[in-house]
């Protein structure tokens, strides 16, 4: 399963990278979304996917899934949510001010003389 997941994560990263290299701001932000999904799945995979019960002691199971990666992912999810929200609003404001969502038109050559 880990091997399958590793490939899946690879695909996610590939798509994310491709999207982030494009011109449209929306595609870029979608790319960052994929990127964080990939990262979260990777943490989970790296913690090991051995079958155990959910990490709730009420389950009284023999083995539990590794709780630490889950906690890390939770933190990472929340943070990337904050960043994505900020990024989105930024894109929206930038479009309002600059009138474009094309990164090529956002070059900026201030001070380059």
């Amino acid at each position: 399963m880990e091997i399958l997941m590793a490939f899946l994560i690879g695909i996610l990263f590939m798509s994310a990278t491709y999207l982030m290299l494009s011109k449209s701001l929306l595609r870029i932000i979608v790319g960052t979304g994929l990127l964080s999904h990939g990262a979260h799945l990777l943490i989970l995979t790296m913690g090991g996917l051995k079958r155990g019960a959910a990490p709730l002691l009420g389950q009284h199971a023999e083995a539990y899934a590794d709780p630490l990666p889950q906690a890390l992912i939770l933190t990472a999810i929340v943070i990337s949510f904050g960043v994505t929200a900020f990024f989105l609003v930024l894109a929206y404001r930038a479009y309002q001010e600059l009138g474009t969502d094309n990164m090529d038109r956002m070059r900026g050559k201030e001070g380059n003389e």
Binding site: A39, G47, L68, P69, L72, L90, A94, M106, G108, E113
Partner: protein
Amino acid sequence: MNSLIILPILIPLLTGIILIFFSKNIPVQKLISVISSLLMVLSALYLAVAVYQDGIQTMNLSNWEAPFGITLVSDMLSALLVLTTSVIALACLLYSFRSIGKERESFFYYPVFFFLVLGINGAFTTGDIFNLFVFFEVMLMASYVLLVLGGTKIQLRETIKYILVNVISSALFVIAVAYLYSVVGTLNMAHISERISQIGQPGIVTVIAVFFLLVFGIKGAIFPLYFWLPGSYYAPPAPVMAMFGALLTKVGVYSITRTYTLFFYHDTGYTHGLLEILSIFTIIVGVIGAIAYSDVKKIIIYNVIVAVGVILFGVATLTEESLAGSVFYLIHDMIIKAALFLLIGIIVKITGTSSIKKMGGLIHQYPGLAWTFFIAALALAGIPPLSGFAGKVLIVRSGLESGNYWGAGIVLLSSLFVLFSVMKIFINVFWGSPRAYRQQEPVPAKWLLAAPAVLTAFAVLYGLGTEALYPIISLAAETLSNPEIYINAVLKE
């Protein structure tokens, strides 16, 4: 266990929170921020003294023993960096009072400013690799907000690029931590170090080391990952630029230093060799950038990159002497970069432009500004007896000693170009015939000058008082070059 260690993190956090309540009352905001910055400086000072006297200070948060909870660790390096950060934050804060403007002030400039400081101090203090990531994010989030606050076109545009790069580097950070966790199964930095030395750094750990270099290299702007920096740092107002230029990249540099001295020191031929090559290239491209532009902001921004290269060259050499040199240089550079950014902030405010071709003759009207800049420029170039000298001498000497003649030569020669680039500013901006500038409002130059002047004075004292600082800094270097000290302080209590 020492509750002092939390104060440089807790004070800005609480201050930031309290300031949110007073978002409409700017005088109160100013009062509170000054008081708590002072408190922060005092606590950082006290912490540094404690570390100097009693060795590494740690705190196991939530009272869980070391590898299981999060541990805050303050060794000499981080205590010094926290102290420097607090001082610079105070300076930038005072500068902001008369320059940042009512609009930004009533839209959470000060709270976010304190959150930025919180993130930086936290990153310097934490002893847990994932917690480091969290503090990075606090710092980055605050920096995004400070960068975009004001919503001008250039700010919006550059913030997009800045966020994009940092989102990528954060994602890479997360996966680097994940890889490391997979191999060693722990997150506490001392514990990681211990476990890596148990298995003697197999190939995969070296790969992860390079991965960490990439992650922190993007933040610390090393070659060839620094491209985002000049544009992004160009956009915000001067005090923010000073905070960024002086502190943000240094967090990346600190993290490289920490990981490359604490974790990945078993295969130095490869990892540190790579770091050395990259640092030399960093210096070269930084220098090229610095002499290329005739824009005050750009020149100083590229000098940030040069400094990063110099510091990392010392880290890559990895002898106690070179590490001491790096620490010397790191703190010097933080102080002097903050001073320089604030100074050019004043220049830009006075002249309304940042192109040196449109300026001239400021020395007649603002002699204090001119001389502060002059001294700061010399300090930047590492001219004795100012602050940059001791660090540079140590770095170059140990570079020569370990046989890296080219690197040492380039570090040495970079001073010349650095000097050239800043003197270009001095000659063109301060000398020559005065010109008339369109000023929208009177510039409170005296007030604004106070902060950078004090910082420059610090830089001078730092250079003259090198002897007094030497035991402190060699203590930092000793801790860096002997991971055992760190591990014992954290785990064997």
